[in-house]
């Protein structure tokens, strides 16, 4: 932690002239998920530097609110430093298109992760939002026995992943006519916002059996506590705070914790290295989401700090296995669940 973006010491940078220089541009740093994502990347990149895989690395976070314009400016100045590969967690799935093309034209390998992007020259690495939505809704509906009243808490409406996820949720719900949707709130995949949104409707809805959300269960649980109502089945976020709460409150009603994987940034690093090494990597890679089920709950909960999100510990090995799995259409790799000692 600390000065990760300092890119290691300069001596090392000078020594490994032929080793690649990796830059990461992150559109937003203001939540726990993004912080975990950056922390995982910096740890892995520092290690890779020690191992002599890369010469140096650099992380640039656009300051302020999720601002595409700031990110564009920062990527442009990164281009001046001529990195060999550029990893991007975009603030906006469209605004970066021209600058990504500019980067590609400059001969830089570009890997975009955490969000689909319509830039033909870039490699894209992302989680399956369909899996995510399915993993959020299905166990929960099963948990309440296929009937009852639920609230749907949507993510950032307007974002393309959300649209896909919401569609998936709708499709699943369509199969269960006995599950009634009492309200659809905008939780924005953010516990605090979901808490307020759910609290706002709780007095006006009948008894709720479950809240299908996108990683905002902790806040929703607080809302039910405030309203003095029993905690229904929830979709928790995968951070330590939520998992500990889930474990301590002994909820066993179909609740799950599911989110995209902040370890993607590390996978993106490995992808960039393989690309630079001339390996054949598909343009689009789908990686597994992080799903915490009841059986793994204790292990995850013990290993995570409150604001730290569960991340798959991608190694170069695991990464290559997953690439093979994607190519061959096989089952996705299941990286090991960390132990509390981590």
């Amino acid at each position: 932690t600390g000065c990760g973006s300092a890119g290691g010491d300069n001596a090392a940078a000078g020594a490994g002239d032929d080793k690649p220089f990796i830059a990461l541009s992150n559109g937003f740093i203001g939540n726990g998920w993004r912080q975990t994502m950056i922390a995982k990347f910096e740890a892995a990149a520092t290690q890779a530097q020690k191992d002599g895989l890369i010469s140096k690395f650099k992380v640039v976070n656009a300051p302020g609110e999720n601002s595409a314009t700031e990110q564009v400016a920062q990527i442009k100045s990164l281009l001046l430093q001529k990195p060999d590969a550029l990893l991007i967690d975009p603030a906006s799935p469209t605004a970066l298109k021209p600058v990504i093309e500019q980067a590609c034209n400059a001969g830089i390998k570009v890997v975009v992760f955490d969000s689909a992007i319509d830039a033909p020259c870039a490699h894209v690495l992302l989680n399956s939002f369909k899996d995510w939505a399915t993993a959020a809704a299905q166990p929960l509906i099963d948990g309440i026995g296929g009937k009852g009243t639920v609230i749907v808490s949507r993510g950032v409406v307007g974002s393309q992943p959300e649209a896909e996820m919401y569609q998936t949720t709708q499709d699943i719900l369509a199969k269960y006519p006995d599950v009634k949707v009492a309200a659809t709130v905008n939780g924005l995949c953010d516990g605090a916002k979901a808490q307020k949104a759910v609290l706002g409707v709780l007095s006006s809805v009948p008894k709720i059996d479950g809240v299908i959300g996108c990683g905002d269960g902790y806040g929703v649980a607080q809302a039910f506590t405030t309203a003095n109502k029993p905690i229904p089945a929830l979709t928790f976020e995968t951070n330590g705070r939520a998992l500990n709460y889930w474990r301590d409150s002994k909820l066993d009603n179909g609740s799950v914790a599911v989110m995209s994987d902040p370890g993607q940034s590390v996978a993106a690093l490995w992808e960039a290295l393989d690309l630079l090494a001339g390996k054949d990597v598909p343009k689009e890679l789908t990686f597994p989401i992080v799903l915490v089920e009841q059986k793994d709950l204790a292990a995850w909960a013990g290993a995570l700090k409150p604001d730290e999100y569960a991340a798959w510990p991608w190694t170069q090995e695991l990464f290559r296995q997953q690439v093979e799995a994607v190519k061959s259409g096989g089952d996705p790799v299941r990286p090991p669940i960390p132990t509390a000692a981590n």
């Binding site: 990760g4 601002s67 595409a68 430093q81 906006s92 605004a95 307007g158």
Partner: protein, 319 residues
Amino acid sequence: MTNLVAAAVPPRALLRRTAPAVVSAVALAAMVAVCASLQPGVLTVPGLTLILSATVPLVVAAQAQMVLMSVGDIDLGIGNFVGLVTVVSATLLVSSPGVGALVLLGLVAGYAVLGALIHLRRVPSLIATLGASFVWLGLGLFLLPTPGGTTPSWLATFGSWQPAGFPAPVLPILVVSALVWLLSSRSSVGVRVRALGSNPVALRRAGLRPLAARAVAYAVAGALGVLSGLVLASQTGGGDVSSATSYTLISVAAVILGGGSFAGGTAVPWGVAIGGVTLGLVSVVLSLLDVPSNMQSAVQGVIVLAVLAGRVVVGKVLR
């Protein structure tokens, strides 16, 4: 003797007025120097193009903010408005250019109406534009819930224009600033608008309608907002209503750095251009310097404060 006195006063007053912009310019030069020392490529034409291009829409938005600040108002909706324009240009302007153009004109008219209502109902512009910013956001999300779309080819061509010999972004910055300068400082419309910010009572006594002046100011700000959005869309190639939210406060800061004030009455288009470019370059400097990621916001804040502190020092010296 009196002529001597008269001649001695204005240059000093002029100096006092331009000092803020000069300090910003010095800061700008310093920042470019730092960038260049870290990355010599900055001083080449492609380098300057790279680092300056992102500041163009910001400068244009700051000019819009400046026009409103010159009537003593403030626009907390400009960021979302620019975002909305990018959305319109990535959707309607492509599917049916005529309708798109009409909608953009309608948005300018909407700004004028907003200004007129602010005037007639005597509500504070700060809160009215804050309310309007929710409306712009809502409209943008309504048109394009998902960031995306593609801008018309002529816009994209403009965005990727790379003339030889000079950095392309300099041209729109100079042209827009010159236009705003002509309009606000040299034309009679500008006199009305600034008079409104300076002393509305005088404007009314002169038989001019403050309502008209305010509506004109808002219309001009709206037009500049549309221009900013088009430029932004030309650079991003798509529409995203929340792509420019940070412009709201940054544009205010740019006006202040350029020597404008909240009191109204003054128009400082050239200062605003300098202030806007300065602020736009802060994130470039940050990404060139190896500032720890968590500390980047703080450094940005400190740079702004330092430039303004420089102003104070210069102001003291000039007095």
